[in-house]
Subunit: 786 residues, 2 copies
């Protein structure tokens, strides 16, 4: 039930048994070049766009489950036996093939030993160049001299991923491969006359090569038994048309105890110029080491702005390493490409990206500001927003405006969450005055963008005065349409009003304060009248006027989001808030997390939407949607119920699944989109769709801001922990507006919540707030709970 | 270099060595259910539409090259050794595994023998039901009693092929598999609430089953070593979400010499009702035999309308069996789905389908008439045509009208080839008066549709009075646009004018005769003035005014199509025609066929088009496009040069490639789209893209009408052979308007062309023409050449 362990010191997850239930992957690259690599060296790469810049081919939902990838084969020339530097694709029996895969921050390393040959194979992408390094250290631990061949293998994709998958009449007749001076040249000519180029270079002299997949693999063979490796020699094939690949063979001999180093570079650019230059530079190994050092520095910098040390080792390793790593990965790559996202939908999801900023804004506020500006450009002058934007190709115009039926009730409102968070983190109130274009026409200040978002929603209220559900709210599968109303969207709107009123007050826009306070009062009245069902909050009303959720609903009676956001929005009074969260615990919480709704839909209901297409327990229909789980942690944090917050937090915490991996199946070091719910007949507790999920950002927010309780505000920092009562305290560090905080919380009375004493730099302050004017460059903060 | 042979008696192609260079496939099904199956039982199936009705999954351009398919595994329970009824996917060593794959008309059979177990596995699709039969006869040829397990395997696709390839967030959470009474139920719920259903039934009792691919295959395994088969038992897995499959296990014991029969049925419909009913019916094996007999009758009927017996065994087997089989397959499935057409583009290609009628109109004129009506509905009221139509979902309206830049110069003109052919074959002149809707608005008689086609082209002439090339002509990759003119389209137009003038004359529309004769005269003048380059015909003019083709062209100097169609259109005088065809032979003809152009383009030229993107020797750029080769045969046939016609015919004849299969690589029993040309650096002679190609129809037309010379005309049948001089004659049979002809041609003087004497039913007739009024129900025709 366990395949690996956390090596916190080296910030690695170490997979000792490579026969994992699913591919456990890592992301390489941080800027324009993205590589994805599994614990068996499978995966792919793209440049700028996974949709139109796909460099390496990957076969999704295929058999075996992850092929191809970045393979290095090792062959003993004495008897022809061969294996791979990662367990797969050759897949030698694990009793004789010893192997570990170490996923680290921005790199993955495979350590293997077989028949007296030890290899360490490390792949990483440098910070600022569109290429990847494949480093192989190989050592003879036997007592005989050994003659080995090394073979690399990559399968090139045809850049445009949709054509690659379907248009064989065309793509199979486009490539014009070449080879020169130990470098494979990947060139093709695409209509209308583009010629993207890439290369694979070997620093060791090349003995033979293949650029044509057919020759390397052979008839009715696969990556596990390629004919070239079996024969011990490539065919020097040049693909002109056909399926291009890249394989180079090196021959090396190793005396007993001897170690050698091979380096392969795969990257974007012309082989003869760019490739040759990189090969020249990186023939000096120290230059590769420098690149690796830069990658480490990048992650040290990113992750160093917030650290903690609590009694929970699982929480520590997630917050300090993996959760933050996932936050930045999600921020960098949105929902572009993974092993389940094929990359056909690239660019930025509007609501996704707004939320993705929350988990990184403390570390990289400048980059967040740029992303927020991209997002603002996806908002229409009438207030709503594009559901997805492509910043690389964005142009203003009416072509961006979708039909009314494709407008979502929540997309634009997320600006009221992301932008206040940025303002609180940075104090950069001048951002509000910056002029940013709308997606359709015109431009406005950021302040007016926010205002328009609220005005749009104000105009989209239904018969009960609640927000219309429109195409969908955050839950893409609740398609209420018509007169259907979303109580969740209404809560988001309520929270947005609160945020905006605060901003308007701070910038002295009293008319707006008044106007939007009136909106808020009216909305609150509707909520009080129509949203409460006695023991919990409804989810909304459907087009025919029936309640969505609630005792009288025929199928699903209670939903997670309207309970958590009743609290998060500030719309519920404490009594209802507690009752709602207690009902959530009673009906929805399980040992693997909180299901989204209960009982799950069994029959479809057209006016409820796509949620009713999914089998019970999967995805939005009774699945444990991790993103929504984080909000329960936030809500309990806000309510001060630390035991329950931590219970909810840990239930879906990947690190807590390490020893039940055959149930959980996905990576124990990053969040997945969902865990199969209790109503599924077979797979309760099984996760799916890891890495690129809003869970990352909100889970970090929940832990760092609402459990550990360290939150940026406009005028300073709040420290207001909500922790399990059996914690005796914790320490944390944080950077805020360039100042450093070293926070020590002690909990001698074993409470969950309540700051009794706050001492900053030796001086006691009132409450739980450190105002900006009391801050020094480095601050020692002591907090006593009780 | 040889993998199989033709068994003409049984009308089978028998593959003795399954390790073929490419998948050699067959088509099963004739109506709404289509199955494709390779010589290793790989392939897929769809119902009605390969795009939205994809039942079985296939991984295109994958490794191994063709997976999955319709697999039956056989396992010896005594020691656990297992193999498959086809060589792959298990792929036992061929020295111990004896196997043959027999592709027949509408069925494929695998005969294998391994360790004293003989199996004969036959797959076919009945004529009128959406399902397929998998029949397994298994025999113990050893002297011990044997305990065996049989396991089936199919992987279900998610109906919508594009979603299946990319939308894993969705498709992996849609299936709700079930199992009952030896039948696997494949059900899923798709947005918006469709629930397509299919099933796999076993007539023998089921020992165990799997419906979840993960359980059957196992981690890091594949179809070649599924864990269920290795263990000897399935897991009875029910996939609810995930990747659904179908596998049932039967256990059988066989005494020495004993034979047993297993039947599996895979089909469309609800398992519990439809599946159970089929299982009940076909538990009586004689009912399966009846279905098979109907399939044979279908093909006997289709192929029986034209037969020949010539000195060329290769020509005989193609014309009598495989070429006609391919013609009907192409007619039935257009270009929908193959191993290289993924099915994303389904429906009918306009020019393709028009031409596809030519090879079958003598056998199934009524079905051709329906198809022509579908095509007429794809024509616009202004004369041009849709490039593709979807008869299943066609609705009239302006939504069908593409932008001007996407209109082709030839699509609509093919109606002037296909409809006259139908009229000549059937004499059904009343078809001309039938009213058919236009694609955009209104309706008109078929006669007026034809007229509009010509009027449209007349209005689309360029600076030299030749037809504009527009988006493209027949050659999709020649994108002349702007003022670019296509001489090939002009020839097609010229031929169309001839056909129409003839029709107009026959229906007494004298004003039209006059009008279009004037058009023809004017066009002929432009051709005489601007199309001839001294030794051959130009291909056109490009937008900038330069010649396309011709001595002064910088890259490509001569194209095939303008030479052949100069003859076929009737536009060239005999002197130029001969000169042009001699130049074609000199510059373009090779031992593997005639290349499309020479020298191939090396650098791209935007105003010539996509042809200049392809590497030299591939596809349209210097490849041997087989479709275009057939026209050279027609042209030489018309010119009476029988030796050359046959030389051209045989050069690309698949049957003539049987003993050079490692060069040719594709099926020797059906045509491929193209053969790699002489300018390719590595693969001259290698074919690609078999089965669904216009080559089929025109090759049959070339052989039957222009070499054997038996052609339908409005008032009777022409018999005017053009054959190699060393043939001493041939015999042929043909059905024409319900009458039967038994034709015997003798060639004692060893000429290529020229009917010296024609005797019909004992009576000598003048010339080479048998008028309708001299025909009896059965006619004995004797022809003397000389």
């Amino acid at each position: 039930m366990r395949y690996g362990y956390f090596d916190d010191k080296n910030r690695e997850y170490v997979i000792e048994n490579p026969n994992t239930p699913m591919s456990w992957v890592n992301y390489l690259g941080t800027a324009e070049y993205c590589g994805i690599i599994s614990n068996n060296a499978s995966g792919y790469a793209f440049y700028k766009s996974p949709k139109s810049g796909r460099l390496m081919r990957f076969r999704f939902n295929s058999i075996p489950m992850d092929r191809p990838g970045r393979y290095v084969y090792i062959r003993d020339n004495a008897d022809g036996d061969y294996w791979s530097a990662s367990w797969q694709p050759v897949g030698k029996p694990l009793d004789s093939f010893k192997t570990r895969c170490c996923h680290g921050l921005g790199y993955t390393r495979f350590e293997s030993e077989y028949r007296g040959i030890k290899s360490s194979y490390r792949v990483f992408v440098p910070i600022d160049k569109p290429l990847e390094f494949w480093e192989l250290e190989i050592e003879n631990t036997s007592d005989k001299e050994r003659e080995l061949s090394l073979f690399t293998y990559v399968e090139w994709a045809f850049w445009d991923m949709n054509q690659d998958l379907t248009n064989f009449q065309y793509i199979l007749y486009t490539c014009r491969m070449d080879y020169q001076d130990d470098i494979i040249d990947y060139t093709l000519r695409l209509w209308p006359f583009r010629e993207p180029k890439a290369f694979m270079a070997s620093v060791l002299p090349v003995e033979s090569f293949d650029t044509d997949r057919e020759y390397f693999i052979g008839r009715y063979r696969h990556e596990g038994n390629p004919i070239a490796v079996e024969k011990g020699k490539c065919s020097n094939s040049i693909a002109v048309g056909g399926s291009p690949c890249g394989s180079v063979q090196n021959r090396i001999s190793l005396k007993p105890g001897e170690k050698k180093y091979a380096l392969y570079i795969v990257g974007i650019g012309d082989a003869k110029s760019v490739g040759a230059e990189y090969k020249r530079i990186y023939s000096d190994r120290s230059r590769v080491d420098e690149e690796f050092t830069k990658v480490q520095a990048y992650w040290n910098d990113r992750l160093g702005s917030y650290t903690c040390n609590t009694p929970s080792e699982e929480l520590n390793r997630m917050v300090n390493i993996w959760n933050q790593y996932q936050c930045h990965t999600t921020f960098n790559w949105s929902r572009s490409a993974s092993f389940n996202e094929a990359g056909g939908r690239d660019g930025l999801g509007y609501r996704d990206t707004n939320q993705d900023t929350l988990g990184v804004v403390h570390a990289i506020p400048e980059l967040v500001k740029n992303k927020l500006t991209d997002l603002l450009k996806g908002q229409f002058s009438f207030g709503a927003a594009m559901h997805q934007i492509q910043p690389l190709t964005w142009t203003q115009g009416d072509h961006n405006v979708p039909p009314e039926s494709r407008i979502y009730s929540d997309d634009h409102l997320w600006l009221l969450i992301s932008i206040p968070a940025y303002l609180k983190e940075t104090g950069d109130m001048s951002f509000l005055d910056e002029l940013v274009q709308y997606a359709d026409r015109g431009e406005a200040s950021v302040y007016d963008h926010l205002k328009q978002a609220l005005e749009f929603s104000w105009g989209k209220r239904g018969p009960h005065g609640l927000l219309l559900g429109m195409a969908a709210d955050w839950n893409d599968c609740l398609n209420l349409k018509g007169k259907g109303e979303s109580i969740w969207s209404t809560f988001l709107f309520f929270r947005g009003l609160n945020e905006f009123i605060e901003i308007a007050r701070r910038v002295g826009r009293e008319a707006d304060v008044k106007r939007f306070t009136a909106y808020r009062d009216e909305i609150r009245e509707s909520i009080d009248k129509y949203a409460w069902d006695g023991k919990w909050f409804l989810r909304g009303y459907i087009d025919s006027g029936k309640k969505l959720g609630g005792q009288e609903s025929e199928q699903c009676k209670i939903f997670i989001n309207s309970q958590t956001w009743a609290v998060i929005s500030g719309a519920a009074d404490r009594e209802k808030a507690l009752k709602a969260m207690d009902s959530l615990k009673e009906y929805l919480a399980t040992e693997h997390g909180i299901v989204k709704n209960y009982p799950a839909y069994r029959e479809h209901i057209a006016e409820v939407g796509a949620i009713t297409t999914f089998p019970a327990g999967l995805k939005e229909n009774g699945g444990i949607f991790c993103h929504a789980n984080t909000w329960a942690v936030v809500a309990e944090g806000m309510l001060g119920r630390g035991d329950r917050a931590f219970e909810f937090y840990r239930a879906f915490l990947p690190a807590a699944k390490n020893d039940m991996a055959d149930v959980y199946t996905m990576e124990p070091y990053v969040y997945s989109q969902f865990i199969t719910g209790k109503e599924h007949p077979y797979h309760f507790g099984r996760a799916r769709n890891s890495w690129l999920t809003g869970t990352a950002t909100w889970s970090f927010v929940a832990a760092s801001q609402y459990m550990l309780g360290i939150r940026a505000e406009y005028d300073g920092l709040v420290v207001d922990p909500t922790i399990p009562h059996d914690w005796d305290g914790f320490t944390a560090t944080r950077v805020y507006r360039g100042k450093r905080f070293e926070i020590s919380v002690s909990n001698p009375s074993r409470v969950c919540h309540g700051v009794k004493k706050l001492v900053v730099n030796g001086e006691e302050l009132k409450g739980n707030f450190i105002p900006f004017d009391r801050m020094k460059a480095v601050n020692k903060v002591e907090v006593l709970l009780g």
